[in-house]
């Protein structure tokens, strides 16, 4: 091929490839209209007796707990993760960009923003304590390249009463299997607070294993309770935890939900047999709910019964009490 012909071929290829790329991007842009920037909901949807969740379009919406298949009342803020308790809500919003950031937005009873904390990474978990005092969240912070597998989780806690925020709790003194523990690879995620707004449970991962930890916020210390338990969620009466247990090396069937009775430390597998990668929320004292395959499902917390689909096209469920 002569240099001139080669150049012509290159220019033609540039035109075709550039046209294809631009054409596809233009089509995709029209298909997915740009999401509207978040705005406070005009009418407050945060009323007791409602089930709040995040719609597939990314907005917080609600339905009556007694009629979860009703058309959701939308108009809530745009969130990637959402939780609420005692009239206060936390909304994690991803800010994609060359540098991935997340904003943790605290909302009051009328869904107005009261506080905004800028975080690194990608939203993963958000949880509000029952009283609405303690907010916690987890984000993924990725390294430079997925091919190096470099990422870690940063978990933060905000005391909304004092305004004090810890953006990464991994410096909390940790006792692992009864011994004080130090390691560089300690990662926490999935916090759940008890009713006293002081005791909390979470996952800690180190050395390739995950553990259930019990933390004391006031004394700022934590200890592991048992191995292989992720994303705990405490029952409203504070006696039981439902968590993800790793049961398979196959990434498609990795976790199964289990119940842990804190008095006897006995665990029971729940009737949901599919792998669930979510921190469950308690629908009531006997039932948990969780996001799976784009929908919200519920299952009895005692191992009986069978999973049922609660809301189509939803995630981040939370019951307003």
């Amino acid at each position: 091929m002569t240099p001139v012909r080669r150049l012509l071929v290159l220019l033609a290829a540039l035109a075709v490839l550039g046209g294809a790329a631009a054409g596809y991007a233009a089509w995709a842009a029209r298909r997915d209209p740009a999401p509207v920037q978040e705005e406070a909901g005009r009418e407050s949807a945060l009323r007791p007796g409602r089930l709040m969740f995040r719609t597939a379009a990314g907005r917080v919406a609600g339905v009556p707990l007694t009629a979860t298949s009703a058309v959701p009342e939308a108009g809530g803020p745009a969130c990637d993760r959402f939780s609420t308790g005692g009239g206060t809500s936390i909304c994690l919003v991803a800010r994609p960009g060359p540098v991935a950031t997340t904003h943790a937005v605290i909302l009051d009873r009328s869904m107005r923003e009261t506080r905004r904390i800028k975080l690194a990474g990608i939203p993963n978990r958000a949880r509000m304590s029952q009283s609405g005092r303690m907010a916690s969240w987890t984000v993924f912070v990725t390294g430079d390249s997925y091919s190096e597998g470099g990422f870690s989780t940063w978990t933060g806690i905000l005391d909304t009463r004092t305004g004090y925020a810890v953006t990464n709790i991994e410096d909390i003194p940790l006792t692992l299997n009864g011994r004080r523990y130090h390691a560089p690879d300690v990662n926490y995620w999935g916090v759940t607070f008890a009713a006293d707004d002081n005791r909390f449970y979470a996952t800690v991962a180190t050395g390739g294993k995950t553990y259930l930890v019990e933390g004391d916020y006031g004394r700022w210390q934590a200890r592991t309770l048992r191995e292989n338990a992720e994303c705990p969620s405490l029952s409203p009466d504070g006696t039981r935890l439902v968590f993800k247990k790793r049961v398979s090396a196959d990434p498609a069937r990795m976790w199964r939900l289990h119940l842990l009775d804190l008095a006897t430390m006995r665990e029971t597998p729940l009737a949901e047999r599919a792998s669930v990668d979510d921190q469950v929320a308690w629908l009531d004292g006997r039932t948990v709910m969780y996001g799976r395959a784009g929908d919200v499902w519920s299952v009895p917390a005692d191992g009986s019964g069978a999973p049922t689909r609660l809301v189509r096209g939803a995630s981040s469920p939370v019951a307003v009490r």
Binding site: D32, I122, S147, G207
Partner: protein
């Protein structure tokens, strides 16, 4: 000892030491790498967001898959290198690697939300990278007269890094312009990758000097016999030994973050700082290597790394650590290939470079495990001190071993 066999085939004339000219084939390979890196870094930049926010998956699952694929990549690299030599078709094997990675962009779309399929696509992408690296470096080293190798690799690595820096910007421009359509990022990335493959096909030549006598052996046994050559064996041993005491970047960034002093949201910018320093230093340091000798510059790069560790233990200056880290890459990455290239006979050059690269990668993997353990037992400052001391000892040993070839 094989220097006579490594004369460039594309009629390179003897050149002045001050010449800035780089053979067209190197520029073409640099352009291929630049375009390909834009494409691959586009995907790298958005993949965590796509997997977690769009598909709702857990990144931990990919961390697990990732560990498994290292062994596969190493085997593919060795086998691909050997095939390139056996068929005398380095460009073909490199092209297969580039092509496979390009197809992976579309396969990402096809994989949808299946974790197993996504894992397979990511493994295939890494296989493509494993396939193309050694033939590409062999092509560079066969296209340049030996006295200009350092500069040539410097130019190539600078172009490569420039593409890597552009990739995330292009990705987020597409993401912003389409209102968050990840599939558009993958399609654009595919088109860019195809352009890279086309550039390779049309502009890169595979120099094939006529073989003097009967066709030399290219069997795996002949590759293993490369290690019988004392000079090349020393380079392999030195590279692996130094790799064992080289901290992975992720640890350096983690330590910088623990030192604090900057907003958590800037954490992902740290690798960009290193890349920028690498980009600026690659060509001048490569030229320096051609003039002063590549082995001294390669070893000096590790001195920069020791300095980076000491700064990290001491005052913890962010910019100093990133610049030293970038200088380390500029003085070692391409320079090592420039050191080893002329030691390898042309007919086994790809296999030899693949062997060297695999040895170094394996050593670095071990170093991460080693450092993790030291950090756990003694703490981070002590771990850094151990690595710095280990580097110093290995460096002294390396100097006494390779001084003859300096």
């Amino acid at each position: 000892m094989y220097i006579s066999a490594s004369r460039a085939a594309d009629g390179a004339r003897p050149r002045s030491r001050l010449s800035f000219a780089v053979p067209g084939n190197v520029l073409a390979l640099g352009a291929v790498s630049l375009v390909t890196d834009i494409s691959s870094e586009m995907v790298t930049a958005v993949l965590p967001l796509y997997l977690t926010l769009s598909l709702g998956l857990n990144l931990l699952q990919f961390g697990l898959l990732d560990g498994l694929s290292f062994g596969v990549t190493a085997l593919v690299r060795l086998a691909g290198g050997n095939l390139a030599d056996r068929w005398r078709r380095r460009k073909l094997v490199a092209g297969l690697g580039y092509g496979l990675s390009a197809l992976c962009r579309l396969a990402l779309l096809a994989a949808g939300g299946s974790v197993t399929a996504l894992g397979a696509v990511i493994a295939a992408d890494r296989t493509g990278k494993g396939l193309r690296t050694a033939p590409r470096d062999a092509l560079i080293s066969l296209s340049v007269p030996p006295d200009g190798l350092g500069q040539a690799f410097g130019v190539h690595r600078a172009m490569d890094t420039f593409g890597a820096l552009l990739g995330p910007l292009v990705a987020f421009a597409v993401l912003t312009g389409t209102g968050g359509a990840y599939d558009a990022v993958f399609v654009v990335s595919f088109c860019v990758a195809v352009l890279g493959v086309l550039l390779l096909l049309m502009y890169v030549r595979d120099p094939r000097p006529p073989l003097p006598g009967p066709r030399p052996a290219t069997s795996p046994r002949a590759v293993a016999a490369l290690l019988r050559d004392a000079a090349f064996r020393r380079v392999c041993v030195v590279a692996a030994l130094l790799g064992l005491v080289t901290l992975s970047d992720a640890f350096v960034y983690l330590l910088l973050q623990k030192r604090g002093g900057f907003g958590a949201e800037y954490f992902p910018l740290l690798p960009l700082g290193t890349a920028a320093a690498y980009l600026l230093l690659a060509v001048p340091v490569g030229r320096l290597a051609d003039r002063l000798g590549r082995v001294p510059v390669f070893l000096a790069g590790h001195v920069a790394l020791i300095a980076a560790y000491l700064v990290l233990i001491g005052p913890g200056w962010l910019v100093a650590v990133l610049v030293l880290q970038g200088a380390f890459y500029a003085a070692t990455d391409g320079v090592l290939m420039a050191v080893a290239g002329p030691m390898l006979p042309a007919h086994l050059r790809t296999s030899g470079l693949a062997l060297l690269q695999t040895g170094q990668a394996g050593a670095r993997l071990l170093s991460s495990i080693l450092f993790g353990a030291v950090w756990t037992v003694w703490g981070s400052a002590q771990g850094l001190a151990v690595m710095a001391a280990g580097l110093a000892v290995c460096l002294l040993g390396a100097w006494s071993v390779v001084r003859r070839h300096a």
